[in-house]
């Protein structure tokens, strides 16, 4: 008997219309856990580097986390894995909501799509019954609209739906996969779904998910829930509000946006407005949110209310969470009413809330600087806000210059030329980032931006405070109940961290300490991504309810796989290295591990090089960032080592970096 997981993947060949249930190997669960870990293994095994994002051989994998469907609070994530059209690397965007548990109850751990359907279809998974159904009537429909039509036509109000909008259908490189209150937005995975001609995947499941040691497992779950309750009553003092309480950043709950609006940059990630947040603005935005928001809502089995139901005048109701609240507003130098209004349309189109506003602001910057002209933007409205709606339609329909803009700032700039490249300034690995431009290098963030293959800093950071506390007594108080640390040395790192003087940034935390901290942060995210636990009750946070000390128990009692901290740390390192290996095989190297050049004004090239060298070494990678043969063998990834040798990525004389792999080149 399999515990926590079902042990069955659903393999769907869209080209031939073939559906298979495939038993998975329990050994793989032990080695790679589930979710991201086993997704990565499948992608390595079956998608060689020659395969491009829009090739039928590319897989689109929807993986439920290992513990999804059990009682574990906040465990509901779907990890979507494929090759990204934008970065040409492995994309593993994720979403909460209700879909992953429903898939488990239907009897499957993953849905693996391959091939390409000849016409637009949707998949209907109802326990043992799996159908590929015609979706021609859904062509061009919004993502939410689609979900509602399907639920109605199947007469299945409880079915959970993931769907794409027009952006996915038209293969916009930053198209999302939407699920009503959640979305998997990064890396253009919606475009891959559109390329495969799949409009939606609909799931209804009424089966059991078993746990191995019921009483012990429940005890762990109860402890987590108790701790969440305690944290609700005891927010962490001395940090900004969104970090003091659990949950995905509570953007739907809070009104005070002084910190975001004055510290993040506006337009095409350019302008910092230090005195923006006036009383007048505060009142206006407060009224906007209050009148639009009808309810705070949650994902499956989670008490955190990170999302909201929003209804704006004359528009269909939609749901939102987190930072999309501000991205459109800030890209357009506008107000919250505009932001929430255009986000409704963008959600129906199915677009990433980070990249999309930035691409539009980028286009307008090109226009203002004469690189794009009236010929490129025929009928461009005079009104600023209307321009954004105009560009949104242009992009989603790939009309005229929209065809280039739909590929993101990096690729659009390359095609437009004429100096446009300078305006595509906020990417990492060709993917648009949060709009932040800061003063002095922060060594912790430097490493996270460089090496975080999740492309999104909120999915990399967490655990360790973002800045030192000014007073030692506050620091002492903070570390007192900090039991989540994997080792007591982290407490000392924090205690000695000062705002100014010898123990301040960028040279403190020292290179070694920085590497320790970043490695810990990343590990916790990777564990979440395999188990299906939301970073909002776990890795994103200071002092979260899930940590390295209780995770092994969750796996032992839940999945029945004997686990301890050392074994879990090694398993995590294994599939993290595999993610790296997939990208290395696609041509990624040290030169790609870089933040946007203008992210910090004051840079420290020598320190940065030392940070990367030391971190790579700690991870078992060579100077080029390629996992070494020794580390691959140690992790049992011999097959990766052999592949690297065969391809000349590594040579047997140990780890002299060979020529870059030819695949995935621009």
């Amino acid at each position: 008997m399999r515990y926590a997981e079902t042990g069955v993947n659903l393999e769907i060949d869209l080209t031939r219309g073939n559906i298979e249930r495939v038993q998975t190997d329990p050994k793989d669960t032990e080695l790679y856990l589930g979710g991201l870990g086993t997704n990565a293994k499948i992608l390595w095994d079956r998608v060689p580097p020659e395969v491009e994002a829009f090739s039928p051989e590319n897989l689109l994998i929807f993986g439920a986390g290992l513990l999804c469907g059990t009682q574990a609070t906040g465990c509901n994530r779907t990890i979507v894995t494929t090759i990204s059209p934008q970065t040409k690397l492995m994309a593993f965007s994720m979403m909460g909501g209700f879909w992953a548990p429903e898939l488990k109850y239907a009897g499957y751990d993953k849905v693996i799509l391959r091939g390409k359907s000849p016409n637009l279809v949707y998949l209907w998974i109802h326990n043992d019954k799996v159908e590929i159904r015609d979706a021609s009537h859904l062509q061009g429909k919004g993502s939410n609209e689609t979900a509602q039509i399907i639920r109605q036509e199947l007469n299945q109000p409880k079915a959970q739906v993931v769907s794409i909008g027009l952006a996915g259908e038209n293969r916009v490189y930053y198209a999302s996969i939407e699920q009503g209150r959640s979305s998997a937005s990064r890396g253009g995975i919606g475009a891959v779904m559109g390329d495969k001609n799949v409009k939606a995947i609909v799931v209804r499941g009424t089966g059991d998910i078993n746990v191995a040691h019921p009483v012990e497992y429940l005890e762990q779950c109860n402890e987590v829930l108790e701790y969440i309750k305690w944290r609700e009553d005891n927010p962490i003092p001395g940090v900004i509000p969104i970090l003091s309480v659990l949950g995905s950043p509570q953007e739907m709950a809070i009104h005070d946006e002084k910190w975001h609006t004055e510290n993040f940059v506006w337009g095409n990630a350019r302008v910092r407005r230090r005195d923006f947040w006036t009383e007048e603005v505060a009142k206006d935005w407060h009224d906007t949110l209050e009148s639009a928001r009808t309810r705070m809502i949650s994902c499956h089995n989670c008490p955190m209310k990170c999302g909201a139901t929003l209804t704006l005048p004359g528009l269909p109701t939609y749901m939102m969470k987190c930072f999309s609240k501000l991205t459109y507003t800030m890209a357009a130098f506008s107000n919250l009413q505009f932001g929430l209004t255009i986000a409704q349309k963008a959600t129906e189109y199915g677009l990433d809330g980070y990249s999309t506003p930035q691409v539009m602001a980028f286009a307008l910057e090109l226009y203002e600087n004469g690189i794009l002209t009236d010929d490129d933007l025929p009928g461009l409205p005079e009104d600023n806000e209307e321009r954004f709606f105009y560009l949104l339609d242009l992009i989603v329909n790939r009309q005229g210059i929209g065809d280039q803009l739909a590929n993101g700032t990096y690729w659009a700039a390359k095609e437009i030329g004429n100096g446009a490249e300078e305006y595509a300034h906020n990417c990492i690995k060709k993917h648009e980032q949060l709009p932040l431009k800061l003063g002095m290098l922060n060594p912790i963030y430097f490493l996270m931006y460089c090496t975080g293959e999740k492309m999104n800093v909120t999915q990399i950071e967490g655990q360790f405070p973002q800045a030192p506390f000014p007073k030692r007594e506050h620091r002492e108080k903070f570390v007192k109940d900090w039991f989540q640390v994997p080792h007591d040395k982290f407490k000392q790192y924090f205690l000695d961290w000062e705002l100014r003087g010898e123990n301040s940034m960028p040279y403190y935390p020292t290179v070694e300490m920085t590497c320790d901290i970043v490695d810990w942060m990343e590990r916790m995210h990777y564990i979440d991504d395999a188990l299906g636990i939301c970073a909002g009750v776990s890795s994103f946070h200071l002092k979260p309810p899930y940590h390295i000390h209780n995770f092994p128990k969750f796996i032992t009692y839940g999945a029945g796989i004997e686990m301890d901290e050392a074994k879990l740390t090694k398993a995590t390192k294994r599939y993290r290295t595999l993610v790296r290996a997939i990208n290395i095989r696609r041509g990624m190297r040290r030169k790609d591990d870089a933040p946007p050049a203008d992210h910090w004004k004051k840079r420290f090239p020598e320190l940065e090089a030392e940070l990367l060298d030391t971190y790579y070494e700690m991870k078992g990678w060579n100077k080029e960032g390629i996992p070494t043969l020794a580390s691959l063998y140690d992790l049992g990834l011999d097959y990766v080592g052999e592949d690297f040798l065969e391809r000349g990525i590594l040579t047997n004389g140990e780890d002299a970096p060979a020529e870059e792999a030819p695949a995935g080149k621009e």
Partner: protein, 180 residues
């Protein structure tokens, strides 16, 4: 029935639909509690509480499984509350032929909330950190009444589904084969 009065603790769960965040933790923990062995499996389709949800209409109604009924209502009413139109069934506790709610997914047998007998409070209440579900207890004098046993309810529903004669035949056959 003796007709004598006796003291009984009446448990009431106060349901505040304005506070429901739609997470369905109540369904999850309910199904785990009623699993055999306890907590060994999860399956909201077996839960004795359901959140009747219509997210795009902003409707979230936690409903507890009540009694089994062999026939659905002749007519259905609609309620408008705060400008939102609810189906009458959204508030109904019955395990009824008109819908899938409150039936074992495999057997179709009716489910009924037992307030998590043996626990300090129903686990759905304990797991609802939003306080959409809150337990209240009070003592009341009530006429003693024999409760219809679970077995009887189950048999009745089977009789309704397959007919009493068929049920009798099957029982006879089953007892025969057990003896054999």
């Amino acid at each position: 029935m003796t007709g004598e009065k006796e003291k009984k603790v009446v448990k009431t769960i106060r349901i505040d639909i304005d506070k429901c965040n739609g997470c369905r933790a109540c369904e999850v923990i309910c199904s785990a509690f009623h699993a055999e062995p306890k907590y060994s499996s999860n399956n909201p389709a077996r839960a004795r509480i359901r959140v009747i949800r219509e997210p795009y209409k902003d409707q979230y109604v936690p409903v507890y499984a009540g009694d089994y009924t062999p026939a659905e209502c002749a007519g259905r009413d609609k309620y408008t509350i705060d400008g939102k139109e609810y189906d009458e069934c959204a508030f109904c506790r019955a395990s009824c032929p008109s819908r899938d709610e409150f039936k074992e997914p495999d057997s179709g047998l009716p489910l009924k909330c037992d307030m998590c007998e043996g626990e300090d409070e129903p686990l759905c209440v304990k797991w609802c950190l939003s306080d959409a579900l809150v337990l209240e207890q009070r003592e009341e004098e009530v006429a003693e009444e024999e409760e219809q046993e679970e077995l009887e309810v189950g048999l009745e529903s089977l009789a309704d589904k397959y007919g009493l004669d068929k049920l009798k035949d099957t029982l006879a056959r089953m007892s025969k084969s057990k003896k054999g």
